[in-house]
């Protein structure tokens, strides 16, 4: 391919150069985004890649260390009329593989909700929860107060032997308030 390239017509050669430039630029950008690189450079490249829909970041699959805490979310809803309802995230290990498969997006949502970066989503989620917990009540969310609570079940340190069995269900603590959303 390369040997016969020099004698090709100009448009073919231009196309060749364009493709090679595209390949090289893309590879450098993707490598900076996904592999360890200086933070300032990485942020600049990520901004460009995000605009192109090509941002991927580093692939931290259970890394640098896997989580060592099981988390659960719960919500206590107090309606304007004084009625109280409670919502609980599913107990994952009781669900069938099929339910886990089709409920994958809900699981991702609940996991993201525990991160502070998701704060803008807390109020609309609480509003939606207040509505769906009392579908019979028109404008059920109006004036309701929703308390989001998360429960932790730390996995015992691996240094402690014997290890708990994988079949042993996690024991959750009494819970911490993530936020209290007062809905107008």
């Amino acid at each position: 391919v390369a040997a016969n390239f020099a004698g090709r017509p100009l448009p073919t050669r231009l196309r060749f150069y364009t493709v090679n430039t595209f390949i090289a630029t893309l590879l450098v950008a993707l490598a900076i985004d996904a592999l360890p690189s200086p933070l300032a450079l990485r942020l600049r490249v990520q901004a460009i890649l995000t605009r192109l829909g090509l941002d991927q970041g580093s692939w931290s699959l259970f890394a640098p260390d896997p989580d060592s805490i099981n988390l659960r979310l719960r919500a206590e809803i107090t309606y304007l009329d004084g009625e109280r309802r409670e919502w609980n995230a599913p107990t994952w290990r009781t669900l069938t593989p099929w339910k886990m498969f089709i409920g994958h997006r809900r699981r991702e949502w609940i996991e993201h909700m525990m991160a502070p970066e998701s704060e803008p989503a807390w109020k609309p989620w609480c509003r939606e929860m207040a509505r769906t917990m009392r579908p019979d009540l028109p404008d059920a969310d109006r004036g309701a107060e929703v308390r989001l609570i998360y429960h932790e079940a730390p996995v015992p340190s691996a240094e402690n032997h014997p290890w708990p069995s994988i079949r042993q269900p996690p024991g959750f603590d009494a819970g911490w308030t993530l936020t209290i959303e007062k809905l107008e």
């Binding site: 060749f16 890394a63 991702e108 909700m113 609309p124 290890w163």
Partner: protein
């Protein structure tokens, strides 16, 4: 003088390697196989989204437009930000995307449809990034590389229609094995090479991240992973495996070893097939034990880019004998 000519020779040699690597022809059937596998996974992905479309993507749902813009990256874009956030609009967009995934599957205008799928995936993911994870990134990246691939050369409605219009003179030769004897199966390799490099990048990035963690080095990482009840325990595994420290340590180190070795050794002729086999086995084992939706299937489709039709010659002993005679 010697060093200058040596530098020149090195540069020329590097340029030659580059051209050989990216511009030698590849077998378009590999691209077609990736297209079919990928489009099938996109359809499954969309089917799972369908019951909750209004919930995830409309302004009346769980994440209205304003909140969506605040949780997404400031540099992100989404077609769904520009369109009205009503159920009708979101459902219309969904059915267009599903139709385009089906057209990609059968190979009708496949590159155009790959481009549209890429745009839809970016739009859906940025409209609600809080329901996305690594598999969505992998799915989006593969869509991007498909745009550049010769997806319609074979096993496609495009090639069927092209044969219908041009007549039997240009029909592909009858030997299904040899791309060398069949120009229709030959295509530029660079888009396939980009996908291969992307797959290697994912593994290398994951391995380097793990090497900076203490638990992956001391062999206890999988102890913690196996006790996370939202990920682990998809199908039954013998309890003893994950309750035994030395087996867990071996498994933990083998994960790092696979993620580090595969992206480096897969480029050599002698180690290519063992690396592909290791990667596929690795994903199938994870698929058995963990709830990660389509992630492992998307990765397997990506690793298919390292296979060639010649790897399946053993499936056609009669044809092989005929070729020899």
């Amino acid at each position: 003088m010697t060093s200058a000519s040596s530098l020149k020779a090195t540069a020329r040699s590097l340029a030659h390697c580059w051209q050989e690597f990216f511009h030698s022809p590849c077998d378009a059937r590999v691209c077609a196989a990736i297209r079919i596998g990928y489009a099938a996974l996109v359809l499954v992905h969309l089917a799972v989204l369908f019951p909750d479309l209004d919930h995830w993507f409309t302004d009346a749902g769980i994440l209205p437009l304003e909140a969506s813009r605040r949780v997404a990256s400031p540099h992100a874009w989404s077609l769904l930000w520009l369109l009205p956030g009503t159920a009708t609009v979101v459902n219309t967009c969904f059915w267009i995307a599903a139709a385009q995934a089906a057209m990609l599957l059968v190979g009708f205008l496949p590159r155009l449809n790959a481009l549209c799928i890429f745009i839809w995936l970016v739009s859906l993911q940025q409209r609600n990034p809080l329901i996305c994870d690594g598999e969505d990134v992998a799915m989006r990246m593969i869509a991007f590389f498909l745009i550049w691939m010769p997806l319609g050369n074979c096993w496609s409605l495009n090639s069927l229609l092209s044969r219908y219009w041009t007549g039997p003179r240009n029909a592909p030769l009858q030997n299904p094995q040899s791309a060398i004897h069949n120009p229709q199966f030959l295509a530029p390799a660079w888009p396939l090479r980009l996908l291969q490099l992307q797959m290697a990048l994912i593994y290398l990035s994951a391995a380097l991240e793990k090497l900076s963690g203490e638990t992956w080095l001391n062999g206890t990482a999988l102890y913690y992973v196996s006790r996370l009840d939202d990920y682990f325990g998809r199908f039954p595994v013998p309890t003893a495996i994950f309750d035994s420290p030395w087996i867990v340590a071996l498994l933990t180190w083998s994960v790092v070893l696979v993620e580090l070795a595969v992206p480096l050794l897969i480029w050599f002729r002698e180690t290519r097939l063992p690396c592909v086999a290791a990667a596929i086995l690795f994903h199938l084992a994870n698929e058995w034990t963990m709830h990660l939706f389509l992630f492992h299937w998307i990765m397997i489709v990506g690793w298919l880019s390292f296979l060639t039709p010649d790897d399946f010659r053993w499936l056609y002993p009669s044809l092989r004998n005929r070729e020899v005679t």
